[in-house]
Every structure is written in structure tokens, then in C-alpha cells.
Subunit: 322 residues, 2 copies
């Protein structure tokens, strides 16, 4: 089985690659090749494959020649994680447009062509995002909530979800989109996500540094450790097509917790001095975008086997051991 | 004010063009130019502008050079009605992909560029479709129903809606999308819509011809006369941006009626012999796609001033006088 990961030098992509290299049978069938795709291997990726079948194939997804070379040999399982993060896409709309919208469309067209013409329908796992929702009300969110994105990143993710469902209906790809919550703890350098504060809480506590947090203690967010996220991506790739909803879409279950809860749990695990230098100076825009998440009910995804970090202590444990 | 209509030789486009030519002040400000865009003027369009400021500018929206020439002079109000209809797009997926998806994206990118660079933000009225919904349950549909398209035409319309909302949020265009129901009575030749039976009932009754209808008498659909549809498109162009929801989206109010209701009303208006040769031989696929529409509640759109044909008799009257 030939497997590709885009965004393989990113936080989630690297975590997934590392897991698959140490568990080459995790997808159900043995991997023959794991292709790691990104602009560059990045710091995390250098010489770190750790499994003979893994190889880097670097380039720009918006370059048709690169796409063709990446997909020259048929792919069985394609993890599409690459994107320009939310804040970066707001600052450079043309880059977000080109990568997150046109790049994803071109990629899916190319994968669909393999399914149409080669008769080998690729399984596609797409990392969508809770950024599709936009402003949520205070009521419990369920899997039938109408998404109303308020950043281009979320709009482009939502458009890609719809495209994947349609190409799957036509039998040209076999897609499954996962709406990911805030995955922690991203490297500090990866702060081009507006939700970077979620990860910085962990890094600053571990380093025992002060931190001016741009949301209040009461801000509530949807959290997930990288370990849990990777387990969910792997599960998504293994689910039978027959068990997929026509939308091909799963809102992952999440840990719904306040910033105050997470900070208190970090203090429990790392000692009170680890967070004693934290101050909370809410930025209204960030608080509105990332700090007002209500409860989430995702019984469909849980019945399908998707998991969450069950409580703040489990989240912190998973992050610190990661 | 410079106005453009794409799909101007289509049924709705021609109706809108005819209305604007006879009411050049209908959009609130006087039109200086009405550009009619389509592949060709078609039978309906030949020599029919009827107003000195109207002119044809024919070409293929998927051709970047044509787009540039169409938008060489800044446009104030852009009606985007052109599309490959639903059944045609299912039969020729590459054509639907190219026109309905990539063509719409390229067009909106070009209009957004005018807003960004020229400082003249174009108002865009987009003809979306109830095809975005897919299979609706028996419950009343409201404006917050989650769309789950099951044909590519609907998926591409939905993706375009999301794009328009995002470009409007960024202030690059000023869009309003209308989800149109089945507009009657389309010309017989325009039967590449799966909902063609809705129009054929009118034509066959008027011609006193027999008709084998591919849905049952009990099939329920959402109907609108061309007259009413044109009034709604014009209203959409006139609404203040300030009164628009962030989704930039309106589900138009509709007449919810069964095929049997419409046939009985046609018999009332045209005499019993007009429909005596009708037979009903349901095609399961068409009945499921187009004959299972539940009640619709659209209080938001009605409060904004959008209208519907109030009952089957009004619909039939509007169609027959059209």
C-alpha cells in the first residue's frame, strides 16, 4: 500500500508520519511506501523517517508538475494535511487562495482522475477544521450545525469538504474529512494559527516562562492532543467506506475546556510556579474566534470509534509525554 | 451603472434582460450599459434587446481572455446566472467541473480583483439552487437547514455560495446568493434540468398534448414563475449591503405544491382536455431528487421583501401570461 502525507513537516503531519513509521501495519494493510510531501522536510523531518519505506518528495502543491510527479505512481491512501494556517491566510489572502482553495481542488481533481482512469480509487483523509463554524452560539453544537466560516481558511476547508463528498459520491475517490479542533502543543514557530495561544500555554508552562495570554481564563476552546489526533487520522483511513455518511464528514469529539482549567491542570502537573507568570489580556477578536466554543455533542463520530482526550489531566499527560 | 448578466440567453437570464430593458431604472440607479453574456445570443436573444444600452458580449466564461474582456470596464452589478444544468453536469462531469466550479471561482476572483484594486466593489447576484439541499426529510425546511448536495451541480453551487460570502466579508465584492426553486415554464429544449417535468406540464397542457410525467401526482416540488423569479433577482440587487446576513444567502420563499395540484389548476385555466392525456409513471430517481420537497419556511427572506407565487392559480396565471 502506497501512502502519501501532505504537510508532512507540519506538526500534525510529522506526528502522523512518525507514528506510521513505527507502526507500518497500522492502516490495516502493510505499507510498501510512505511518501512525505511538503515544501521542505523542515527541522523536524531531517533524517527522521526511521522506516525504510519512507521517503521525502518535496515541492509546491500549487505546481501541476509537482502534483503529477507526486501522483505518478498510484496512491492507495492520501492524507491531505497541508494548508496555509488561518491567520497567515488572512494576512496573505492570495497565498491562502492558491494553496487552500485552488491547490486542494487541483489535488482532488488529480486524485479523482486516478480513480476514474486507473480504476484504483484512492482513499483520501482530509484534515478539515473547526474553523468552518465561524461564530457559534452558546447552545450545544452537534454534527448537524450549519457552518458559517468567518475566515477564508475556514471557507476553503468547507468548500473542500463539499468537493470531497461529491467526488466520493461519484466513486472517484473514497474520502473522509475530519474537522480537527485545536491540536496541542504545536511548536512555538507554528504560531500562524490564531489558536496559537492554546499551544503556547503548554510551552510557556514547561519552560516556566511568563506568558501574556490573548484570551481570558474563562475562554472555552476545543482541545486535542497530537497523540489523540493521530489515532483519529489513522482510524479515519481504516473505516470501511460502507460505514461512511454521504457527507464523508466527521466532527471529531473534543475536550471542551476553559483556558483556566488547562492552566490549573498544567500547574498540577508541573508545579504552581510553572504558570505563576501567566497573565490574561483578552484580545476581543481572538477571544471571539477561538475562545467562545460551546459544548459539542458528537455521538456519530464516537460511535464510529473516534476518540478525545477525556479530561484536562489526560490532555496534559498526552501532551507532556508526546 | 454598468450591469452584466451571464447566462443571458438562458430562460431566467433572458427574462431578466427583457425586464431590465423595459425598466432601465429598476435597479435603483439608471443603467448606462447592460452587457448580455453567454456562449451565443441563442434563439431568444437575437435582435431582442429592445433598449439602446443593451449589447451582447459572447464567449466562454472558462476562457480567461473572455473574462478579462467582459470585465475590462468596471462593472457595478453582476448577475451570475450561467451554469451547466444539473443533469447535463452529471452526464458530462468535466464540463460541469469546468463551468460550474472552476468558471465561477475564476469569475469571482476577477470580480474581487476589481473590488480590491479598482476600489469599485461590484455587487454580485448569484443564482444558486435548491439542488444544494440533496435529500430533505419530511420536516419543514427552514433557512438553517444543513445542505447535503447529491449532484455535482448542487455541490458546486454550494461551494460558490461559500466563496461569495467570504469575498464579501473581505469587502472585495458585495454578493447576494439566491437559492432558486424550479422556475417555470422553461422552454422544452432546456430540459437538461432534471426538474424539466415541472415545465413540461405547462407546455404540454398549453399544446393539449399527452405527457408521460416521470413523477407521481403526489410528488411535491417548489415552484416559482419566471415573473416572480425576475422580481426577486432585481430585489436582491437593490438590497442594502447593511441588511445582508453574513452568509450573503437567501433561500427564496416558494410555492410548495404537488404535481396533482398544478395539473388540476392547469385544467381549470385551460380546460379539462388540456391535461386529459397526462399519465404519471414515476422514475424513482427523479421522484427522489425533485418530487419529495417538504414545506419550506423562509421568514427571513420574506421579511427582506422576497416574494413567491402565492398559490397554484397565481403561478399558472403568471406563467401563462409570461
Amino acid at each position: 500500500m502506497r501512502v502519501v502525507i501532505t504537510g508532512a513537516s507540519g506538526f500534525v503531519g510529522h506526528g502522523l508520519a512518525r507514528f506510521l513509521c513505527s507502526h507500518p501495519g497500522a492502516l490495516g494493510r502493510p505499507m510498501s511506501k510512505l511518501v512525505l510531501a511538503d515544501l521542505t522536510p523542515g527541522e523536524t523531518g531531517q533524517g527522521r523517517q526511521g522506516w525504510d519505506g519512507a521517503e521525502w518528495h518535496c515541492g509546491d502543491l500549487t505546481d501541476a508538475a509537482y502534483l503529477n510527479s507526486l501522483l505518478k505512481e498510484p496512491v492507495d491512501c492520501f492524507f491531505h494535511l497541508a494548508s496555509v494556517p488561518g491567520l497567515a491566510a488572512e494576512r496573505k489572502p492570495e497565498l491562502g487562495w492558491s494553496v487552500n482553495l485552488l491547490g486542494s481542488i487541483a489535488l482532488m481533481e488529480r486524485l479523482a482522475r486516478q480513480g476514474r482512469e486507473g480504476g484504483r480509487v484512492p482513499r483520501v483523509v482530509f484534515a478539515s477544521s473547526i474553523a468552518v463554524y465561524g461564530v457559534l452560539g452558546p447552545g450545544v453544537v452537534n454534527e448537524d450545525c450549519v457552518p458559517r466560516p468567518i475566515i477564508s481558511y475556514g471557507a476553503h476547508k468547507l468548500m473542500t469538504e463539499i468537493l470531497l463528498a461529491d467526488l466520493s459520491r461519484r466513486g472517484e475517490i473514497d474520502a473522509r474529512s475530519l474537522r480537527l479542533p485545536g491540536i496541542v502543543a504545536r511548536p512555538v514557530s507554528a504560531s500562524r494559527h490564531g489558536s496559537a495561544f492554546m499551544s503556547l500555554l503548554f510551552h510557556k508552562a514547561a519552560a516556566r516562562e511568563g506568558y501574556i495570554c490573548p484570551v481570558s481564563r474563562d475562554a472555552t476552546a476545543w482541545w486535542m492532543s497530537l497523540t489523540t489526533c493521530v489515532a483519529n487520522l489513522v482510524l479515519a483511513a481504516k473505516l470501511d467506506a460502507i460505514s461512511m455518511p454521504p457527507s464523508r464528514l466527521w466532527q471529531l469529539p473534543v475536550l471542551h475546556a476553559s483556558v483556566g482549567d488547562i492552566v490549573a491542570t498544567l500547574a498540577d502537573h508541573l508545579g504552581p510556579e510553572s504558570t505563576s507568570g501567566f497573565r490574561f489580556v483578552p484580545d476581543v477578536a481572538i477571544e471571539n474566534l477561538f475562545g467562545r466554543f460551546p459544548n459539542l455533542s458528537a455521538p456519530g463520530a464516537m460511535a464510529a470509534g473516534f476518540i478525545r482526550d477525556p479530561d484536562p489531566s489526560a490532555l496534559v499527560t498526552n501532551v507532556l509525554k508526546g
